[in-house]
């Protein structure tokens, strides 16, 4: 019986700069997008992903060798990477694209795959923690696509992640109607659900320290990537406005309205 060698984990956390969740979205006048001259921040599910990577290191001590934050986006996406570094990630990778370009999930998944394929030896990435979805395009597909491209196992919508020696990972998943536990092995893709953790705020000293951490800047062509969108946007429009139906005076009237609507 050989003892299982402790396996060192290199975690990659893709983070997206998106419109802040508290901003009220306005459709742009050209009807092809939304007004993006508003406050941006890290996609909330990605904050949970960064937090989880850091907690895994805090919990498992030396088991986690490195945490790298990756963002694909305009020059300003570097702020999002800095936020991840201030939270506790070790290094950043920024794939820069022009300001207004849209990088679709399948392109993002292919780019992340390139970054993983490029990593080597004891620095090879073997755990990717992503948000379950970005709150801008709401696609929720990048994590699964990446798992499919790489042929790695996946633990999506995670509300609990436990890494054991030997690279065994138990993921509790939020499914319709409850929870499901799956057991995977590294290398693995995990996507985060809201319940996984409560992300920390970066402290001022950590924000200062983050400025010294290294961010590698790449262009899509450096990696042989093509970010030309496959989808053509026909239109972006306001959702149908709801017309409030007015108020009733009593519970009886309310019940009558429910009856009229065929609810009762």
């Amino acid at each position: 019986m050989r003892p299982t060698l402790p396996r060192l984990v290199n975690i990659l956390v893709p983070v997206k700069r998106s419109i802040d969740y508290a901003v009220k979205i306005r459709v742009a006048s050209d009807g092809k997008g939304v007004d993006t001259t508003v406050k941006h921040s890290m996609n909330p599910f990605d904050e949970i992903a960064v937090e989880e990577a850091i907690r895994q290191r805090e919990k498992n001590g030396k088991l986690v060798k490195s945490i790298t934050a990756l963002s694909i986006g305009p020059p300003k996406a570097v702020d999002t990477i800095r936020t991840a570094l201030a939270m506790g990630a070790d290094a950043g990778i920024h794939i820069t694209v022009p300001e207004s370009s849209v990088v679709e999930p399948i392109a993002v998944a292919n780019a992340i795959k390139k970054i993983i394929d490029r990593s080597e030896g004891e620095n090879k990435f073997d755990l990717v923690i992503l948000g379950k979805q970005a709150i801008d395009d709401d696609s929720g597909s990048t994590g699964g696509m990446l798992a499919g491209l790489l042929g790695w196992g996946q633990g999506t919508f995670a509300s609990k992640v436990a890494i054991a020696d030997g690279g065994k990972v138990e993921v509790t998943r939020e499914i319709d109607g409850g929870l499901e536990i799956v057991e995977g092995k590294l290398p693995l893709i995990v996507t985060t659900d809201l319940r996984l953790n409560e992300p920390r705020y970066a402290s001022l000293p950590n924000i200062m320290k983050a400025k010294k951490k290294k961010i590698e800047t790449l262009k899509p062509e450096d990696l042989g990537l093509d970010f030309t969108p496959r989808f053509e946007t026909i239109s972006v429009s306001e959702p149908a406005k709801r017309q409030g139906g007015g108020k009733v005076e009593s519970v009886d009237e309310l019940v009558a309205k429910l009856k009229d609507a065929g609810v009762l």
Binding site: I25, A109, M145, G153, L194, P239, G245, V251, A261
Partner: protein
């Protein structure tokens, strides 16, 4: 009038001519099931798929017992001409690692142009992996599609904007999940689909199912419930939350939801949170009790067919979207409402 009629004709002729050039769609619907029982969200996906015309088939993937269990029912789904089945223990619990590669083999082999699933936890888990294997885009959570088969409409920014997109020929197979509340359920009964077994060739995977813990509740699941009763901060405590809302939910046969404020205050579990960062629901009836209607909450429920709001603040934003609003103290109103709903049912 004349101009408008002419416009309409020209608009019509474009899709018709492209229709003639194009091979008719051959669509497949992933029929989700659990414990040998069809998840009827799949019936909404069938309706979406019917928009395309052409051949429409269903596929059932699972353990032998589960596949056998649902087969009689799914054969009768109206509009399906064929049911493909793939049975193996490796497909139990519909693990994406085994199911997605199977679909990736079946789709080209059967010349499928479109595959649909309901946008459920299973659809959201399996279909992105399928897209990755095929190096294809995926079109998630659609609320409409055009018969041309390449134009889809879906909400973005938590429903605060509606995106209409055209898919590229580069993505030869359209991989689509369907917002169930945007399409009616296909009926079951008069269909008589033929059954064809496809070879089960489970892929090697290092992931395995361990266990599950389903919330034991007589109430329907929040995401798919046809009726939802939701509570906000005005309920003031966890005890009140249950004491006031549970009887109303039971009387209406509804699921219970909560606003973020109620979750943050600890009145409700955050699995109940409705809103931008929680669950997006679109039931037939949504009753908001003591919820002011912050934009993040509205994003999660404003597609509901009928919204009822009970709030003592007449200026609460929730009244701007509610079909029926009642300005009143919830602690008096809700128990009265429960009684009158019970009476109306009897």
């Amino acid at each position: 009038m004349f101009v408008r009629a002419a416009l309409r004709t020209s608009r019509l002729s474009a899709p018709l001519s492209s229709l003639a050039q194009r091979r008719l769609a051959s669509s497949l619907v992933y029929l989700e099931h659990k414990g040998g029982k069809l998840n009827d969200s799949s019936l909404n996906a069938v309706t979406a798929a019917k928009t395309l015309g052409g051949d429409l088939a269903g596929i059932v993937v699972g353990s032998k017992a589960d596949v056998d269990g649902v087969l009689d029912e799914v054969k009768k789904i109206d509009g399906l001409s064929k049911i493909y089945t793939a049975a193996s223990d490796a497909y139990s619990h519909q693990l994406a690692e085994t199911v997605a590669p199977l679909l990736a083999t079946v789709l080209p082999a059967k010349s499928i142009s479109h595959i649909f699933a309901a946008h459920t936890a299973v659809g959201k888990n399996v279909f992105p992996r399928l897209a990755g294997i095929l190096d294809s885009s995926m079109i998630a959570d659609i609320i409409a599609l055009e018969s041309s088969g390449d134009v889809f409409t879906r909400p973005i920014y938590a429903g605060n904007a509606i995106l209409k997109i055209k898919s590229s020929p580069k993505d030869a197979i359209k991989i689509v999940t369907v917002r169930t509340t945007a399409f009616d359920k296909a009926s079951v009964g008069s269909g008589s689909a033929s059954v064809e077994e496809v070879e089960a060739t489970p892929s090697e995977t290092t992931t395995k199912y361990v266990s599950e813990e389903l919330t034991v509740s007589s109430r329907p699941d929040l995401s798919s419930a046809p009726r939802v009763v939701s509570g906000g901060r005005a309920l003031k405590s966890q005890e009140n939350f249950e004491k006031v809302l549970d009887p109303l939910a039971d009387a209406l046969g509804a699921a219970v939801g909560a606003s973020r404020a109620a979750v943050d205050a600890g009145y409700a579990d955050n699995s109940l949170q409705v809103g931008q960062t929680g669950k997006v629901v679109a039931p037939e009836l949504y009753v908001a009790v003591g919820i002011s209607g912050a934009i993040q909450h509205l994003a999660g429920m404003k597609e509901s067919k009928m919204i009822v709001a009970i709030n003592k603040d007449p200026d609460a934003p929730i009244f701007q979207v509610a079909d029926v609003g009642l300005v009143a103290d919830l602690f008096e109103t809700v128990p009265e409402l429960v009684k009158k709903v019970e009476a109306a049912k009897a």
